[in-house]
Subunit: 245 residues, 2 copies
């Protein structure tokens, strides 16, 4: 069996709590702008729900590649309108700051410790639909110890497009069987497996995109299955690997 060298991580939902973080930022925004009547959690869900259909236009080739920052801003304006608010009534810098909430998403409590342990033996890198700058800002904000960063703008491909996985493998000079994707979403792992990568499912509350039929339990047998990234580090430690092989 090929030696595992690289761990790629889905980020939004898997490493950071996107929905919880965005609800908190939206609540703060509505409080500052006399719109406390809007349910911040429902607003965050509505915002996230627009993400996948918007990206699908790019995956299918109907729209040229634009970064997630552009898509998120369009969706933010759409959600404000759907909530009865007028986007142009807010100072542009305030909207920009709320959109940058995606750059400040909070890691799950185990993420930094788990990544740090995994980094001792493997190259660790995000493989995310977020832009490279978004992921750099997030890593600096949350002290995520990545070896390097692959945003969707590196390959100009959104997951689950095969190019997203294969270009990242190519840039780290590994055949796909020397890499593994860690994710809390089945569709992502399924695409990675089809590209030849190994797979590890991490159970996360609240990770599912409400625009998909999210299921917190893995529907398929992935190579590994862990409750969090610290547990994954335990599972992948040398003794455990050799005793299971």
């Amino acid at each position: 069996m090929a030696k595992l060298e690289v761990l790629f991580f889905d980020v939004l939902g898997t490493v950071v709590d996107w929905r919880g973080s965005m609800a908190a930022e939206a609540a703060s925004f509505f409080e500052r702008h006399d719109a406390r009547h809007i349910d911040a959690h429902a607003f965050a869900d509505a915002w996230v729900a627009r993400y996948d259909p918007a990206v699908e236009a790019i995956r299918s080739g109907r729209r040229s590649f634009v970064s997630l920052d552009v898509i998120n801003m369009e969706n933010l304006e759409g959600c404000l309108e759907a909530s009865g608010l007028t986007p142009s009534a807010f100072p542009p810098a305030e909207l920009e700051n709320l959109n940058r909430a995606w750059h400040r998403l909070r890691p799950w409590p185990d993420s930094v410790k788990g990544l740090s342990r995994l980094k001792e033996r493997f190259i660790v890198a995000p493989l995310s639909d977020g832009s490279t700058r978004l992921l750099v800002n997030m890593a600096r904000h949350a002290a995520l110890p990545w070896d390097t960063i692959f945003g969707a703008d590196v390959s100009c491909a959104y997951k689950p497009m095969p190019r997203a996985y294969l270009r990242a493998c190519e840039l780290l000079n590994v055949t796909p069987d020397r890499a593994m994707l860690i994710a809390a979403h089945d569709y992502d792992l399924d695409a990675a497996r089809r590209c030849g990568l190994r797979t590890a499912y991490v159970h996360r509350e609240n990770a599912a995109d409400p625009s998909k039929d999210g299921n917190p339990k893995a529907l398929q047998a992935w190579d590994y299955d862990a409750n969090d990234l610290v547990e994954l580090a335990d599972i992948l430690r040398p003794a455990a690997q050799s005793s299971s092989s």
Copy 2:
């Protein structure tokens, strides 16, 4: 004046002592293979000297993009032949290990401390002709605290091609005037300036590629000039910036 957000670093010569490191690895290789009569320093110089002409074939479009690992191996074989040795007489794993010396280049004594201080205020990233994997391995080996890594394979362009600088700015979502290149080579700074980036020259002994007419002194007035990366951190500290503006 636009706010400076990103510092890009030339790596080979500027952050790591490539010629010194490679001479040491070559000496060890020749000792193990009964070829102590070959001058390891001259061999390292000859190896480095083949780098620029080989990359020029790619810059000019005469050859498709291949990574520096491929070029370095070709040049290693050429240098062994020029030294009267037969590359095929060595175990392939030994040649591969010597070629991987480029992944283990030693940082200058100030590099880790200087980068760590600069990282407190700026995004720090290599912008190198090395491959992404080479730079990831080097960062892990030498504890270089990059925020993210841009090898030549990200843009498929070797410096001083404008695309190398502009694609890195694009991926970090900055206009070139919000970025600066730090390098010990004038040709690199000159190309960065033409792309609109700011420039800082670092004086390094032994940094010049012997295939070029290297000059340890900056020939032009760059925006900043420092003896090492710790001094650059001093120069760019907030008080110094505001007192000079």
